[in-house]
Amino acid sequence: MTVTVNRYKCGYCGACVSVCPMAALELVETWIEINDACNDCNTCVNICPIGAIESVKE
């Protein structure tokens, strides 16, 4: 997993889920879960309306 969601910032809108080409994200009620399919493409980072997603360098 190479992106993290700041759940204190996240507004649980689901924008990131809809653009994820790997289907690695899920909006579960009011938080986002990320699975291992994430390929660090950063599409979600740029779509987030409030800047809650960060790319993490491993």
Binding site: C13, E26, E29
Partner: protein, 392 residues
């Protein structure tokens, strides 16, 4: 909850409740599940909707009508104003809703038609028998359950999972989505018009809006085209917009959201499966309005589900009737507005101003979205050649 239904609908927004109501009224045994513990909350919507369209689906009730609007004003970047009336301006004005109450009223309608609603329950996968989808794996208040159905309907919104489970590619490219932020602003003056502000410094590839909710409050929001946005841009731009236009306004609620703006997707059905509403990307790519299309598509899906189950054929081929119906109506409409959107996102601010000037004074209260497109084309045929087929 039983272990078997005629139809399971995943997601209790307008699309899902519309399917559930229609299918129940046709005599089917319907389960409507909602992953959240409350229906309609948190809101992810600007809440504007066409009055006449809504009346086709539910009796207007002051409990969920925050305000009525007379029409729309569109502002070019230099402030040039175009005003159009409510009746003609498309599906995005008329009522400004209180979605928290509206969505629950639609779910109540489904329940009173005979559907069963279960909240805090999400679909985690699909059950298949050979190729046929025959139910869902679900998590209901933390417990895993399997529920069977003759038809599963995905109505799980912009963040849809079940479409993907069914093998339908619903992934939106960044250029096919508007990423949005909205504040409920109090203590301001907002008359009975919905206002739209265009401009690349205001909302790249989108627009800012002010939808009045009565008593000095309004939904003030912004949508940015995904491919032109970056990390957190909508909230930053909206904060600036509110500071500039409503310096004394107080922010009393914050809403984030995303609107599919892709136009019709390739496929919305599979064996034993249909997709409706935002999850089927049926929202309007130009205005972002999705409620009416969702309600209308829900009726089509519910009706087709009933006739297919009656004939005991829920194959993809049989469900094609749903696909045919929505493409003929909603699909045609959103294909047209997609052309307009694709052109608008290429405009510079200077072009927006020039185009607004070219029809300034030619707009009146009898004009709608496509009347404006027609007027723009007549005044600038060479520059807007892409619009030639839209205005017949």
């Amino acid at each position: 909850m039983k272990d078997k239904y005629d139809v399971i609908v995943v997601g209790a927004g307008p699309a899902g409740s519309s399917v559930a109501t229609t299918a129940s009224k046709a005599g089917l045994d319907v389960l409507l599940i909602e992953k959240r513990q409350e229906i309609g909350d948190p809101v992810r919507c600007a809440e504007g909707v066409d009055k006449e369209g809504i009346k086709r689906h539910i009796k207007p009730d002051p409990r969920w009508i925050a305000a009525e609007v007379k029409g729309s004003r569109i502002f070019a970047p230099d402030g040039t104003k175009l005003q159009i009336s409510e009746k003609m301006s498309g599906a995005e004005v008329g009522y400004v809703l209180e979605r928290k109450i509206f969505d629950r009223a639609l779910a109540e309608q489904a329940v009173s038609s005979g559907a069963e609603v279960i909240v805090k329950t999400s679909a985690t996968g699909l059950i298949r028998k050979n190729k046929q989808i025959t139910g869902i794996h679900a998590r209901s208040i933390g417990e895993s359950v399997d529920i069977k159905a003759k038809i599963v309907v995905g109505a799980d919104g912009v963040e849809s999972k079940v479409g993907r489970f069914a093998g339908i590619n619903t992934t939106l490219a960044p250029k096919d989505i508007e990423t949005c932020a909205q504040f409920l602003v109090s203590g301001i003056e907002a008359d009975e018009y919905c206002q739209f502000y265009l401009g690349n410094n205001i909302a790249p590839g989108g627009y800012a809006w002010v939808f009045p909710k009565g008593k000095g409050i309004a939904n003030v929001g912004i949508g940015v085209l995904g491919s032109l946005s970056n990390n957190g841009m909508p909230v930053k731009l909206l904060s600036n917009f509110v500071k500039h236009h409503f310096p004394t306004g107080k922010i009393i609620e914050m809403v984030l959201g995303a609107v599919p703006a892709s136009g019709p997707i390739e496929k919305t059905i599979a064996d034993g499966f249909m997709l409706v509403g935002d999850s089927a990307r049926q929202s309007d790519p130009l205005t972002g309005g999705g409620i009416l299309n969702a309600l209308d598509a829900g009726v089509m899906a519910g009706t087709v589900a009933a006739s297919c189950i009656e004939k005991d054929d829920v194959s993809e081929k049989a469900l094609m009737e749903y696909e045919r119906q929505w493409r003929e109506t909603i699909g045609k409409k959103i294909s047209k507005t997609l052309v307009v959107k694709e052109k608008l996102i290429t405009f510079t601010d200077k072009q927006f101003n020039i185009f607004a000037h070219s029809i300034e004074g030619k707009c009146d209260n009898t004009m709608g979205v496509f009347d404006i497109v027609r007027a723009l084309f007549r005044a600038n045929p060479k520059l807007l050649w892409e619009f030639r087929n839209l205005i017949k």
